[in-house]
């Protein structure tokens, strides 16, 4: 029904809809302008393609990778670019969708014709893309693929996850068991928990179980649970009933929170737990747990500490943290961002040293030379593309009083007494306290 004096309902809805659409488009344009920048300076830019998960389940990690990569682009352009040419980052949202990731990698090679393509973060996204790199005979810069080159054995593959040349499932998993072995008295029984995905499942079946057999730990409970499990009380109850001496858990972020809360609510704690939780490295997850983290031992790859003061890492973290909060990504950036930046440093040094963008030459150079990066000043890759020497740490959370970000902020000048590196001895800042 039309109002004789004013606008009709249809007109009203059209105006409202138009206003909403304008807001959405404007907001999107502004949002993208925070991320997309044209290459500065004269000369044909060197274009680097990144298909990354900017939405979907992996978006939290993907966005931090994008930010770290952009910081590198800014840094290298401020120094005159690569080979005297400015660098431009071309990125797309792979939406945490593996098939879309593969298509975007192909697009970057064949349509955008960029000079170098990067792999998206994580095994789920990265491993399916490897055949495309093989097809184009291109260097394959991977970021946190779990044993990604195992089946392909691609000669130009290199990985920035520092798990070392041995199967990372055994490598990253073994830390907690080695710590357990040294406890007095030595634990006899263990419970194994894993999320039903690549990491959790393989960490349990190909990592933890063989290690338990090797070291003589009796598995009294084992559970591989679905990734969308909401309530962990039943599992925690079962672990409590089994009463193991220690618990190993290979999780993803949301289930890490669920498990830790469930254990706390039952008032149950074993002598040593959990070791393989992906998620306890993210600031937001740490803040969501606060004091519940106390006593937990878990893997990490890097935290600011006098023992891990690698060249350039402090400057990078300062730049990252200055931008991160405003962009809604991990505000501290200790986990992925340094390795995303280091990936670009490897490429930068290879391109400058060879003076070329020829992938065969770059690939050969990367396999045979050492790199100075912010995560390792003498980084070398093994034949299979993994790090020649593993580099990961176990940290124990202690003395955490609240969920404030300051509890999880570490310094290079003084070891943190809240995130204590207890293993390996090379980086340790304290001893494990039971």
């Amino acid at each position: 029904m039309k109002d004789k004096k004013g606008i009709s309902r249809r007109q009203y809805l059209a105006i409202a809809g138009g206003a909403i659409a304008a807001a959405v488009i404007g907001g999107t344009a502004y949002y993208l302008s925070q991320w997309r920048k044209p290459a500065p300076g004269p000369g044909k830019p060197i274009r680097i393609g990144l298909p990354e998960s900017l939405s979907g389940a992996l978006s939290a990690a993907g966005m931090s990778v994008l930010l770290a990569t952009q910081i590198w682009v800014d840094d290298v352009n401020s120094k005159g670019g690569l080979l005297g040419r400015p660098v431009e980052l071309v990125f797309y949202d792979a939406q945490s969708n593996p098939s879309l990731g593969v298509s975007l990698v192909e697009k970057l090679f064949t349509v955008d014709k960029v000079d170098i393509v990067l792999e998206p973060y994580a095994s789920l996204m990265g491993i399916p893309c490897i055949p495309v790199f093989i097809e184009h005979n291109a260097i394959c810069p991977a970021l946190f693929n779990l044993w990604g080159n195992e089946k392909f054995q691609y000669k130009y593959y290199f990985e920035l996850m520092p798990d070392g040349p041995i199967p990372p499932l055994t490598g990253k998993t073994k830390g907690l068991f080695e710590l357990a072995e040294d406890l007095e008295p030595k634990p006899e029984t263990v419970a194994l928990l894993g999320v039903a995905n690549e990491w959790g499942q393989r960490s349990i079946t190909e990592g933890a179980e063989p290690i338990c057999q090797e070291k003589g730990f009796n598995i009294v409970y084992k559970e591989i649970y679905p990734p969308d499990t909401t309530d962990f009380l039943p599992i925690a109850n079962s672990v409590k009933a089994a009463n193991p001496d220690f618990v190993y858990a290979a999780t993803y972020p949301t289930d890490a929170v669920g498990l830790i809360k469930a254990f706390h609510e039952l008032g149950y704690r074993s002598r040593l737990q959990f070791g393989g939780m992906v998620g306890l490295q993210y600031t937001s997850i740490q803040m969501s747990l606060g004091p519940l983290l106390n006593g937990i031992v878990n893997y990490h790859y890097f935290i600011p500490s006098p023992t891990m003061r690698f060249p350039g890492i402090e400057e990078f973290l300062n730049k990252y943290q200055a931008k991160a909060a405003g962009l809604g990504v991990d505000p501290l950036g200790y986990y992925l961002p340094p390795f995303a930046y280091a990936r670009m440093q490897v490429i930068e040094q290879a391109v400058e040293a060879t003076g070329t963008l020829d992938h065969a030459e770059l690939g050969e150079y990367i396999k045979t030379h050492e790199f100075e990066t912010i995560v390792n000043p003498k980084l070398r890759f093994a034949e299979n593309g993994e790090w020649e020497k593993e580099q990961y740490i176990l940290i124990q959370f202690r003395n955490i009083q609240s969920s404030d970000i300051s509890e999880f902020t570490c310094s290079f000048d003084k070891p943190s007494n809240k995130m204590v590196i207890v293993w390996p001895p090379e980086f340790a800042t304290g001893e494990f306290v039971e």
Binding site: S59, M63, Y225, D231, P234, I235, A262, G328
Partner: protein
């Protein structure tokens, strides 16, 4: 015995949470015939609303949930009006166009949340959330008990609203026979607008409690789409009582199966029960 009792309690508490996030969909899908696939997204939006008030003003998520009720009610009323004008009034074949509209809404909300809050996980931390109440052998976590209590309050309120009030009877009447309901003096448009507003308000309340249970990120709604629709369908379309019973059943099944068979079997068994029920009783456990 302790394990069994605690498992049953955990299942019931989980069922209470499922009730809270499903009741709104039962109204939308079961009573006013809108297959609101974006319902879990509104639950998520409610979680972000609670997060915003917590970080900006230090407001407890339970209080935020109460504050969100009138706000999301108004949003629901407005959205239904748009839906009515764009889809129902134009006489479009409701099923496909309706799904496209609602799916688009889902994507818009998710991306909007991503752009406003970023991709990182968001959570709230209040000390009481991680406490448990010990009753003999039972350990009852407040994190799950509070949503259960609130769900129970909402259940009682909805029971009263939809069976004892003129409005509630009107919703049921329109669901059965819109023409006859109009003859009885009901305005279907107004009634359905208010009902959809109530649907979204309850979703937002559920969201404020979701963020107490687990951290959220802009796409965590997708884990709940299957569950909420399974609850509504299993309970019987339009039956709020059925939604409650179905939620408890699914919560119990998930918990018991996780302990005695393995967590991997939980969803399989849950959906097997749904399938079996629909084969034997296609209208669900309780008819409208």
């Amino acid at each position: 015995m302790e394990l069994i009792l605690n498992t049953i309690v955990a299942g019931i508490l989980l069922g209470g949470f499922y009730t809270l996030i499903s009741l709104g969909l039962s109204i939308a899908f079961g009573l006013i015939n809108i297959s609101n696939i974006a319902h879990p997204t509104f639950v998520l939006a409610g979680g972000y609303f609670a997060y915003t008030l917590y970080t900006a003003l230090g407001i407890d998520p339970i209080i935020s949930g109460v504050i969100s009720i009138p706000l999301f009610f108004i949003i629901g009323v407005f959205l239904y009006r748009v839906y009515n004008v764009l889809i129902e009034k134009r006489g479009h074949e409701k099923g496909l166009i309706s799904l496209v509209f609602l799916f688009s809404l889902l994507i818009l909300i998710e991306v909007g949340l991503l752009m406003i809050f970023g991709a990182d996980w968001r959570s709230v931390y209040t000390p009481y959330m991680v406490q448990s109440v010990k009753v003999g052998m039972l350990s009852i976590p407040l994190r799950m008990f509070i949503p259960f209590v609130i769900a129970s309050i909402v259940d009682i309120f909805f029971y009263y609203l939809f069976s004892k009030t003129f409005f509630g009877l009107g919703v049921r009447a329109i669901a059965q026979n819109p023409s006859a309901a109009m003859l009885m003096g009901y305005n279907p448009l107004k009634i359905n607008m208010l009902a959809f507003g109530i649907s979204l308000a309850s979703a937002a309340l559920g969201g404020s409690l979701l963020i107490m249970i687990q951290p959220i990120y802009p796409f965590s709604d997708r884990a709940f789409i299957g569950r909420v629709f399974a609850v509504v369908v299993l309970g019987g379309m339009g039956s709020l009582y059925g939604t409650i019973v179905a939620s408890i059943i699914l919560g119990l099944v998930e918990a018991v199966v996780a302990v005695f068979l393995g967590a991997s079997w939980s969803m399989l068994i849950s959906f097997a029960i749904l399938l079996l029920t629909l084969l034997l009783k296609p209208e669900g456990l309780f008819r409208r």
